[in-house]
């Protein structure tokens, strides 16, 4: 309903068939400020369903959908949820189930207040609507949800992170010194001389040129690429993680006469370089 181009489609509530639990993780000191989250995995231990209950199930009701949402509580106490992962689980299986909650931890890092815990809402829903075994999904239970939860099988949050002191970029390159091969990723000055370009003469009135900067150098690769099962394909590369726009004054033709006009060109100047997997988002702290 937030899209300008898509009309809101009203729905009718057919059934509310979910059992929901909220997991609270204290994140104090878990992720140092100078670290990059690579992957966050929520592990839940699915307890075995009693055999007698399993025998009563039809094949259609042998699965349930488990959905993980990040629960955000705002300062005015209003709350909202953000879907981060969802998967089917079989009622016939038990054991550890893993969910990718990297998005939730990134959201929490960027949007939560200091000291606020990470809240993950776990919902178990019916996968098929129908008269058969309407409460089958309620047989899916994760350890520590009830009294029978044992300490060892409690929900676990696994955080894979990289120390940016060793695996990140090093800020600005030494001015005047050429970047040696294999040197660590840094931001290097690069001047774009607009006055020296034929197309820009008389057309671009301001600026005569600008410092665009570029990201150069190598990035340290984490040990054992198979450690993480994230959707990252290539090695970590030195890329522009933050950029700013460049305003220019150009002379535009209007009715046979020239008229100066201001235009803002996005992503023209590199503000910060970072080491990142190609295509992976570069998390950063948002402003207030």
């Amino acid at each position: 309903r937030f899209s300008q181009r898509v009309r809101e489609v009203a729905g009718r509530l057919l059934a509310s068939e979910a059992s929901t639990h909220v997991l609270v993780f204290s994140m104090e000191g878990r992720l140092p400020p100078d670290s990059e989250l690579v992957q966050a995995v929520l592990r839940l231990f699915q307890q075995p369903v009693p055999k007698a209950a399993l025998r009563r199930l039809s094949p259609h009701s042998a699965q349930a959908r488990v959905t993980i949402q990040w629960l955000r509580i705002r300062e005015d106490s209003s709350n909202s949820t953000y879907l981060v992962d969802s998967r089917l689980v079989s009622l016939h299986e038990s054991g550890w189930k893993a969910f990718d909650v990297t998005e939730a931890v990134n959201f929490w890092r960027q949007l939560s207040r200091p000291g606020q815990p990470l809240l993950l809402q776990v919902s178990v829903q019916r996968e098929h609507l129908g008269p058969r075994a309407p409460g089958a999904h309620k047989l899916v239970r994760f350890a520590s949800q009830g009294r029978e939860g044992t300490g060892q099988a409690e929900p676990q949050l696994e955080l894979h992170s990289l120390d940016l002191g060793a695996y990140g970029a090093r800020g600005d390159c030494d001015p005047g010194a050429p970047v040696a091969e294999g040197a660590r990723c840094c931001r290097q000055e690069m001047y774009i001389d607009l006055r020296g370009m034929t197309w820009a003469q008389h057309w671009v009135l301001e600026p005569p040129g600008f410092l665009a900067y570029e990201c150069v150098g190598a990035c340290r690769q984490p040990p054992g690429p198979s450690t993480f099962t994230g959707p990252f394909l290539g090695p970590r590369r030195c890329i522009a993680s933050e950029t700013t726009s460049l305003p220019v004054i150009v002379s535009v033709q209007e009715g046979g006469r020239s008229r100066p006009q201001v235009v803002s060109l996005p992503n023209m100047r590199v503000e910060k370089c970072a080491c990142s997997w190609d295509g992976a988002p570069v998390p950063r702290k948002l402003g207030p």
Binding site: M190, A200, A240, T243, S245, I249, N267
Partner: protein, 55 residues
């Protein structure tokens, strides 16, 4: 970043297919009115404060 990329971005922003040719240009640069210069300076200041996330 290359000069070509700056040109491409400029053409995209102005909705043009190519840079104005020499015949279209005035012999002298037009004087920039004060309000256009003020708008430019304001954008310049804002771009130093507001960063956008890269890819």
């Amino acid at each position: 970043l290359t000069g070509e990329q700056v040109l491409e971005s400029l053409l995209r922003q102005l909705g043009l297919s190519e840079a104005p040719g020499p015949a279209q240009r005035d012999a002298e640069e037009p004087a920039t009115p004060a309000h256009v210069r003020a708008q430019y300076v304001a954008l310049l200041r804002r771009s130093h404060g507001a960063r956008s996330r890269g890819k």
